[in-house]
């Protein structure tokens, strides 16, 4: 990785405060920073594209509005008792037990009602909007493509090279991803099997300045890149490892995620992996007529849930959890009311799922409001703009400079706290010391977890209201060094803002949360 671009992205600036607090010498830190490559540049993002328009209301259920859901979609609605609870208000489809587990481990966020203003119900236009991250019809580069264009100039001609030997993005399967379309080329490299990369004949051509010249130059560059990237990918996959026994070899998403784990653990420096899952355009037979818990949509959700659970388990065993995060997206949700063919027609906003050990929020946003009367063609209204989610990922995960991020998007960005659960760690040990305590989920209602690192200390934890009054001592005891999760019941608290105070001989730290 290039030192220069590491310094440029502001990671050091954002880290300076904890260094001082912990009394480290700056020189030591700087050395560790550069010796141990655990910076933003080693972060990996997984995009799972749910192609066709995912019915968000059959994936994340507003449990508090089951009666209204019954009015709108009685022929496809899964029984209330079968919904998997995440919180009192939010539940998952019965087939998504894997993601329910991840939620309980603090590794799954649900981002509610994500869309964009003036929704477009064309698959193609809407997917273009999601891929480009822009409403402007003239924007043809992808949101990641624009970021890569800025960070890695002269693509594709100048790559691969000594500093950047690996593809910037890998699209699993046989198609490149339009999210990675740059000005002059697509940053994603299509890989269907990382172990099978044949050598192709090298070519060189002259571009005569016409369309023809551009096309043959493109093919020539691609052939040469295919050779070079192919070797990198195969050697990384061969050097890599995978440890989880939860991958189902018959689940194509699991197979692809396993390949990805293999490539990451083998040292491939690719930043983005894209998986495409088709089949979400469920105009009819979305559910099984004999059992609404089953059917086309249920199977798709199960595959994603099982595969992500296995992948996360693998990353944990491989010690890679702090480097990888993933997010799902789809071109739109579907209409609130079902149609007569056990399906749903094109709608508007839908929830996104964000996963990884570094997530910093549980449920983001409130449940959609389901009306109790059927309004033809109504979709779920947008509350959170997906472009803000993309921007927040670039900020939290790739630590891109805020001015740069604003330059990539057309809207005035509102940032969400999504992936700040791990510090920009220097090494595992230092990370433990720098780790800020975290309440999850936040805001919360029934119970929540306090996640924090201990440095072998006798710790007291106090619950404090917003006036600074100590309400109770929630915990007291000797804790070993390392990460800790404590679960607290907070149902009895009035709605409002509260803090936990973590107090030991060596520290006093506050962490805030919102009680709904």
């Amino acid at each position: 990785m290039k030192r220069r671009s590491f310094l440029k992205n502001g990671a050091l600036a954002s880290l300076s405060l904890p260094f001082v607090q912990n009394g480290f010498s700056m020189q030591a830190i700087a050395k560790q920073l550069f010796d141990v490559p655990k910076s933003a540049e080693d972060k990996v993002l997984i995009l799972i594209r749910m192609n066709g328009g995912n019915d968000g209301l059959n994936m994340v259920f507003p449990r508090d509005q089951y009666a209204e859901m019954l009015v709108q979609r009685s022929n496809i609605l899964v029984p209330e008792s079968a919904i998997l609870p995440l919180t009192l208000e939010v539940g998952l489809h019965p087939k998504m037990t894997g993601l329910q587990t991840l939620f309980s481990e603090g590794k799954l966020s649900v981002i509610q009602n994500v869309g964009y203003p003036e929704p477009n119900r064309s698959h193609f236009r809407s997917m273009d909007i999601w891929s480009t991250g822009a409403l402007d019809i003239n924007q043809t580069s992808g949101w990641l493509g624009r970021y890569f264009d800025g960070a890695y100039p002269n693509f594709p001609d100048a790559y691969p090279n000594v500093d950047f030997p690996d593809p910037f993005a890998i699209s699993m399967g046989s198609e490149v991803s339009s999210t990675c379309q740059g000005l002059m080329g697509n940053f994603s490299h299509a890989v269907s099997d990382p172990f099978n990369n044949s050598n192709l004949l090298l070519t060189s051509v002259t571009n005569d300045g016409t369309y023809y010249g551009g096309q043959i130059e493109y093919i020539s560059t691609l052939i040469n890149q295919t050779n070079e990237y192919g070797q990198q990918i195969t050697s990384a996959a061969s050097a890599g490892n995978t440890l989880s026994n939860l991958y189902d070899p018959l689940n194509p998403i699991a197979v692809q995620l396993k390949y990805i784990a293999q490539m990451i653990s083998g040292g491939l420096q690719t930043k983005v992996y894209i998986i495409n899952v088709g089949g979400f355009d469920t105009h009819d037979a979305q559910v099984d007529q004999n059992d609404v818990k089953e059917g086309v949509h249920a199977n798709l959700l199960k595959r994603i849930s099982d595969a992500v659970r296995a992948f996360q388990h693998d990353l944990q065993l491989l010690g890679l959890e702090q480097r990888v995060a993933g997010i799902t997206f789809s071109e739109f949700g579907r209409q609130i009311a079902s149609n007569g063919s056990l399906g749903t027609d094109h709608g508007d906003a839908a929830p996104l799922l964000l996963f990884g050990a570094c997530i910093s929020s549980g449920i983001v946003g409130a449940n959609p409001q389901i009306p109790n009367q059927v309004n033809n063609q109504a979709g779920v209204p947008m509350v959170i703009d997906f472009r803000d989610i993309y921007a927040s990922i670039l900020k939290d995960w790739f630590e891109v400079d805020l001015q740069v991020i604003q330059g990539l998007f057309e809207q005035n960005i509102t940032y969400y706290d999504l992936l700040q659960g791990c510090t920009n760690s220097i090494s595992e040990n230092d990370a433990a010391q720098l780790q800020k305590p975290l309440v999850f989920p936040n805001p919360s209602l029934g119970q929540h977890q306090l996640k924090f690192f201990s440095n072998n200390e006798y710790l007291e934890i106090f619950l404090i209201d917003q006036n600074g009054k100590v309400l109770q001592k929630s915990f007291e005891g000797q804790l070993n060094a390392g990460p800790h999760h404590l679960t607290f019941e907070i149902q009895y608290l009035n709605a409002g803002r509260y803090h936990y105070l973590l107090k030991s001989a060596t520290r006093q730290e506050l962490v805030s949360f919102q009680k709904l």
């Binding site: 698959h123 023809y212 093919i219 063919s341 094109h346």
Partner: protein, 524 residues
């Protein structure tokens, strides 16, 4: 549109044939030069006659091998029914590849695929229905587009594919109504407000869904019906009057029963956007992906006018385009990246290579051809979406989407298979007939002339001299040119003696192996 009046040489003739067919031979090109542009064009507009697909797979349980299944019932038994469908789909896929490989010098196959891409229908359920649907497209391929859209709207395949068969007054389903406007006719414009796409609104989608209610599909994989049919059931039709949005001047489509949809399609074709939308797709298919302002004002607008004044007959539009100065402009020559089937057929059709073995072997080979194109990204019977293949619409990459690191490897694998002697089906070797190819050139005994002629057939533009010398060195094995002449003449004297033909064949296979892997071969 300004007509082309420049020189008519093999460069222009080869360009026309490359864009209008799946691969022309050196002889075809020379004939086109002789015949001139107008005669060549009228040949291209002649329809060809196609055989019916035949049963060849042992899983077929109703008709005998070698007979067609297109009007045959299915077995009653569930498992046998499914197996028979599998056998018929294999036969259909093989038959498609065979038609592309054995096409006559006609626009037929090229336009058939244009419509297959335009409507994006994925085969679902019954091979007979898919055969009928392809026949419908073929019948109108060079004919009237308005009639085609009307017929497609109630075709059993389309009714199943976009849920028309479950669209009723009791449960309207918007799927077809939306894609008809967005993808098949007026196209989507800039979004003006929520639900308003400047050429239509959500109101039109909802109204359209009601207009199309009432059609059901009968006979899918039936043990008694020999055809899949669509039928109109008045009880399922929405009998209200449907009011369209301001984009259609708030017109009302009055309740009109079984033919109401045809009235609606007439209204849609009265929108100038419909004509220009289809003309832009034709331009992208035949000329270039990028539609510049100049092209929009000078080419698309003329095409649109011709299309409207011909009452939506497509032949006059194509004829005007393919004889225009713009079509032959050097700036657009070689601008298109060949689709997988175009690439595959360019390897075979340029040498008139086809499979002519026993029924089983021939169909198996064509089924493999179908599968190879599928693996390169073009499963003919299964477009990636209802919008067709992304290469024809996804800006800014367009045709570049046919080639990426996975697909290029597959393309090279196919080259290796077809330029070897290793593709053996039931003891029959299927390979490019390189000796026929060679013998059809202008002076096969001259190594430099062989390379020149091959470049005319395979590449859209001349290539640098250094590249030609490199290819020639492969042909001659690095020996002086006269050695090739000697070798070729020895073969001519004893054409069936492997001692003489095998080395010539090997050299030609090596040359084609190289040329098919050059970037210039993958554009047209």
């Amino acid at each position: 549109m300004t007509p082309y009046t420049g020189p008519w040489t093999s460069a222009q003739a080869a360009h026309l044939l490359r864009r209008c067919t799946f691969g022309a031979t050196f002889t075809d090109i020379q004939a086109a030069v002789q015949n001139g542009l107008n005669t060549t064009l009228s040949t291209l507009f002649t329809s060809s006659i196609i055989d019916q697909p035949l049963a060849f797979d042992p899983a077929e349980q109703i008709v005998a091998q070698g007979q067609t299944w297109i009007n045959a019932v299915y077995p009653t038994d569930n498992a046998a029914n499914q197996q028979t469908e599998g056998a018929r789909m294999k036969s259909l896929g093989a038959w498609i590849a065979k038609n592309l490989n054995q096409e006559s010098l006609s626009l037929n196959e090229k336009m058939l695929f244009f419509w297959q891409n335009h409507f994006g229908v994925t085969a679902s359920g019954d091979a007979r229905a898919m055969y009928q649907y392809l026949n419908l497209l073929r019948q109108h391929a060079l004919g009237n587009v308005k009639q085609l859209v009307k017929d497609v709207s109630i075709d059993p395949c389309m009714l199943v594919f976009l849920n028309g068969s479950t669209n009723s007054v009791f449960s309207p389903n918007e799927n077809y109504a939306r894609e008809l406007l967005e993808l098949f006719t007026v196209g989507k414009g800039v979004q003006l407000a929520a639900g308003d796409y400047s050429t239509f609104t959500e109101q039109d989608v909802a109204a359209g869904a009601k207009i199309f209610t009432g059609y059901v599909v009968q006979g899918v994989r039936s043990a008694t019906q020999t055809q899949v049919t669509s039928q109109y059931l008045p009880l399922l039709h929405d009998n209200t009057n449907k009011t369209l949005s301001y984009h259609f001047a708030n017109q009302t489509i009055s309740a009109g029963g079984a033919t109401e949809y045809a009235t609606y399609i007439d209204v849609i074709f009265n929108q100038a956007d419909t004509a220009s939308y289809i003309c832009r797709k034709l331009y992208r298919y035949f000329v270039n992906a990028e539609i510049t302002t100049w092209v929009e004002q000078n080419i698309i607008s003329d095409m649109t006018q011709t299309f409207i004044s011909s009452n939506f007959d497509i032949a006059p539009v194509l004829n005007e385009l393919l004889s225009s100065a713009h079509f032959y402009d050097l700036s657009v020559r070689g601008a298109i990246i060949r689709s997988p089937f175009e690439t595959l057929c360019a390897m075979l059709n340029t040498s008139s290579t086809s499979a002519n073995f026993d029924l089983q072997s021939t169909y198996q080979i064509y089924l493999s051809m179908y599968g190879l194109a599928d693996q390169m990204g073009q499963g003919y019977l299964a477009p990636p979406s209802v919008a067709g293949w992304t290469a024809y619409y996804q800006a800014p990459a367009f045709y570049r989407l046919w080639i990426n690191s996975t697909y290029i490897k597959k393309r090279f694998d196919v080259v290796n298979i077809l330029t070897s002697n290793n593709y053996n089906v039931n003891g029959n070797i299927f390979k490019i007939k390189v000796l026929d190819f060679l013998n059809g050139l202008s002076m096969p005994s001259s190594a430099p002339q062989v390379v020149d002629d091959l470049c005319v057939v395979l590449f859209p533009k001349d290539i640098p001299v250094a590249d030609k010398l490199a290819i020639k060195a492969v042909l001659t094995g690095g020996l002086p040119d006269f050695e090739w002449t000697l070798q070729y003449n020895e073969y001519l004297n004893a054409p069936t003696n492997p001692i003489f033909y095998a080395p010539v064949e090997l050299r030609m296979q090596a040359v084609l192996n190289i040329m098919f892997k050059m970037p210039q071969f993958h554009v047209c």
